[in-house]
């Protein structure tokens, strides 16, 4: 089980993302995008491709756009290939924005991109903890999870989806995670439960196979129990909720 964690040009969560995969049992490597472009064949050695969070190209021209264009120009076919195999892809935060801009998610009509990530309704950067519920249990990433408490940290986390596409996303059950309020009900756009105003409280989307997951919250930052706010009052002893996502990847290959 090998994971490739992408880095370069302002991606910045690669260390903690790799660490999370390693703890659950993966072997992994952080690979600079320029090295991957030089030698795309190395992708064959990996079962999981992870695009971590960060600020690739400083969000200029829209979060995730510039990096998506770099991948589109140099690595697109290889990545599509990867996604069509029995392998897993995850994009977290900026990685989510990159996958969306590449059109790898939801990838319903193969026209890129189908969805846009736009600025939070509040107009400001939001670094806070949220609760999300799993909507779609068929994605290997999300199996047997119901609710997760995870942090978000982004300026552009609002999913913008044309109405018709949203219908097919729902019909195909591609909404991965949704923000919920303190009564465990959908946040219905209410701040701060839904931190960005995302339509239908969407926090993550998957492709049709479910093997590609694009999520705005950061599971790697909720990996250990002491990551969770006010952990001193909690009874859970070792891991936070983010751990479950990485364990699911492991189980998929086990």
């Amino acid at each position: 089980m090998n994971v490739l964690v992408l880095s370069g040009y302002g991606i910045n969560c690669e260390n903690e993302t790799l660490h999370a995969f390693e703890v659950v049992g993966f072997k992994g490597k952080i690979v600079h995008i320029n090295d991957l472009i030089q030698n795309p064949k190395q992708l064959d050695n990996y079962q999981v491709f992870a695009i971590p969070g960060g600020f690739s190209y400083g969000d200029d021209t829209g979060s995730g756009n510039a990096m998506a264009k770099k991948i589109l120009t140099n690595l697109y076919d290889q990545l599509i290939d990867f996604s069509l195999k029995d392998k897993l892809i995850i994009g977290i935060c900026n990685g989510c924005q990159i996958l969306i801009n590449l059109g790898l998610v939801p990838s319903l009509n193969k026209k890129d991109p189908e969805v846009a990530m736009i600025e939070n309704k509040s107009g400001s950067y939001e670094c806070r903890w949220v609760d999300v519920k799993v909507n779609n249990n068929k994605s290997p990433w999300l199996k047997n999870i119901s609710i997760l408490n995870l942090p978000v940290a982004h300026q552009e986390g609002q999913f913008m989806i044309p109405i018709n596409l949203l219908k097919s996303i729902k019909a195909n059950n591609l909404i991965g995670l949704q923000y919920i309020n303190n009564h465990k009900k959908l946040a219905k756009g209410q701040f701060p439960f839904n931190p960005n105003g995302s339509k239908d409280d969407i926090a993550a989307l998957t492709n049709q196979n479910g093997n590609v997951l694009a999520m705005m919250p950061h599971p790697e930052r909720a990996f250990y129990h002491y990551h969770v706010p006010n952990w001193q009052n909690s009874t859970s002893k070792k891991f936070g909720d983010g751990y479950k996502i990485f364990m699911n990847a492991k189980k998929f290959f086990a």
């Binding site: 910045n12 264009k69 969805v115």
Partner: protein, 975 residues
Amino acid sequence: MTNTIQILSIEKTGKESSLQKEHNNKSIKIIDGYFFSRNLDDQKFTKISKLISNDVSQTILTKKNVNKVLSSYCNFNWVVEIKFLPGVTDNIATTVKEIIKDNLKSSFKSFELGSTKIILIKGRKEDITKISKNEANPLIQTIKIYPFKQYLNNFKKNQFKIEKVKLPKKKYSKKEINLDISDYNLSLIGKLGIEENDKSRRGTLGLDLESLKTIRNYFSTIKRKPTDVEIETLAQTWSEHCKHKIFSAKIDDIQEGIFKKYIKGATEKIIQLRKDNFCVSLFTDNAGGIEFNKDWIICHKVETHNTPSALDPFGGAITGIVGVNRDCLGFGKGAKPIANTYAYYLADPNKKYQLYRQKNKDPMLPANFIAKGIISGVRVGGNCSGIPTPQGNVYFDDRFAGKPLVFCGTVGIIPKKIKGKLSHKKKANPGDIILMAGGRVGKDGIHGATFSSEELDPNSPVSAVQIGDPITQKKMSDVIIRELRDENLYSSITDNGAGGLSSSIGEMAKESGGFIVNLEKVPLKYNGLYPWEIWVSESQERMTLAVPPANVKKVINRFNARGVEATIIGKFIKKEKAIVKYNKTEILNLDMEFLHEGYPKLNLKTSFPKIKKEKKKIIKKSSLIDKLHKLLSSPNIVSKEFIATQYDHEVQATSIIKPLQGEGRVFGNATAIKPLFDDEKSIALSQAAYPQYAETNPYDMAGCSIDTAYKNLIVSGANSKKIAILDNFCWCSSDEPDRLYQLKEAAKACYDYAVAYQTPFISGKDSMFNDFKGFDKTGKSVKISIPPTLLISSIGVVDKISHLTKMTPDDDDILLVLGNTRNELQDSVYSKIIGYEKAKNPVVNSKDALRTYRNFEKANKLGIINSAIGIDLGGIGIAVTKMAIASKKGLTIDLKLKNKISVDQFLFSETQSRILVSIKKNKLANYKKIFKGSDYTIIGKCTGSDVVEFKDNKKIIRGKISDFAKSYKQNIKGL
């Protein structure tokens, strides 16, 4: 054919809605524009548009559709076009260029482009002018306002233009400066700069007459005239900013100066007293370092960026934070930045001060523009760099209206040994190549070091402003920390900050002897820079490395492979000479000794100042609950949650004590990160400054700062034997004897308290002239000086996760105040807001304080402390209320136990060295054993209800927690 791509967001963006709210106008739309220096044919236009936009959320405006698309929103009638001035860093344009080059390869090249913000409104011209004032800074941007019709016309006729830097093609010929001139003319060179052939002046050198005379003497001894580059270099190297002349000067009878005697002296004394020295690197490097565990060192540095932030708040602050990040990269062989800290001292954003740098012209930026710009500058700098920013604070006072104080700090981590060699030791060897890596050099920040040492006056140069580019720096930093460092490919490294190459190479060359630099090799942003400009430019995101010749190729290749430029610009030599050439002409040749130590030493005298006491204010009669609400919602106590949530404090997955604490999210005094996955040790961070106490007694002010910064770490659970502190003095009018007296007093307190607490100073920085000299709105000349401000930053190691405390009590917990409460309301928040009482200023008794801290530490390690919060601004009253807000649990406070002082004195006095703690009922006996013989008061308990209640003999006064929370979380007016 067109020369512009303009992109519109279909739905209302967050930025648009905040503009609409702010200006009470629903018809505002923002366009992202890109102006090209070349025309694009239709095919290129379509291709490039697709590359830089998203067709789900955005529309591309074209000649054909522009009118129709825009009129579908409303009938706009005014437009403001905001572009960067030529030569100002335009990060978006850089990214767009890179996307185009990567995708179109050679089919579209040699073009320039600039990013533009175009704001459309339906409204009056006054409205658009007001918007432009809030959204643009004329110092770095051009602002064009014109009718909407003209905008459409510009579109049709391709009239959008980018302005390139057009510097005259100047051929450089070596310029010699005659210093054999009158004292008056000599001082003009110092104040206004070197005279050009056309009689214009280059801008202040900040050299006083005595320094210029010293330079004249040196050159008359070596029998030649100095070159312009030599004078510029000496001005940079000898600037107050680089040499800290005031701290090293003889002052009254202190021969060695206050730095050596009081700051460094304290650390030396502590190391001598303690047998367990945990300091690794002190004062000499870019940051100070202490031991973290047996394999790792952590370092910390705090910088100020005050003057640039007054001129361009966003640019000044972002440069401040990414600049101090480089201090970590330049610590030892290069430490990885793992946390940022911030502290802002600002004028009231809700007030209009209307200050002018020149009579009736050249206005200072409005206070709210400055505040917002500073807050967002650090946000963009920190967030984009992937460095968490957990720890900080903001303080407001009218006296910061002329100059805001912007403190930016960074903590770094580095393995003790790299390939068997000590990582904090570095030495450029003779023969090593001088490599400059990172960004290119432009006219940014020319004369930054010299002018930040001066007061802000009409001659402050505007080219002194830089804008940081965190992504360029992140790319460079990744290569250094992840690849080059651990292979030991270079022998020394330092950052390019104040003074640019002249400082960084000058400093590093002390390790080898001297240097030879060929300036024509330095890569430039645009042509037309004079050699002296290249040499002193403060263009950001650059590190200087000393690389053994055998490794140079490998190092350059590694940088290039990651999209980072690296260039050989010279070499280090053994001979103690500083030599600079430009196209083979030698333009600088100085003895290293003269360059670094030749400046005339100051001889300062101090005098006792008139004490400016706070004016007596009648106490307004109001209820206790009312007073609590007033204090909670006052700007210096109110929650700073809005900053904490926009600064990413979770990145790197290290946040363990967060800025917002408890379910009720109270803004904490200290935060902690756990930097290593395989060690449970954490780093606790805090800071404190009390400018409000300074005029009454600067000695006690400094004592309070040290005590609070230290106390906050003790309360968080840090090991008292592993706490180090940093000093940042921001002073005013440091050429006046009474200000120098205050400085000396504060420095003396630094020695006394640091030695008493045995907490060493490991690094520091000072900024001595934070004064504004200008005019008010009536044209009357004014001088506004900041109150003397000493920021003490503290960094400590927490040995175990279980030692980390929380501020939320549980039901039935007993509440205690550790430490004595005295009537020390002088200069307190209470005295400012409620009224002035007869009182003393807070004075720290270090013996009592230490007893409290040691007992607390012991009790905490034994698990006796259930929750704790340091008592500071607003006293016990505010600490109690914050605890209730954080835990959402009611508390009852018994006022009978307050001793001989009044209720208000007891609740709101800012007596130092006190901690509010809660302990489980069944642990009270254990507790009493530990605290036997020390001062503590049981003041109440946690009831778990929804009110905080205060009981005395006669009555019970209650306040609802949810109401307190509302007051505490109020927005700060003007922000």
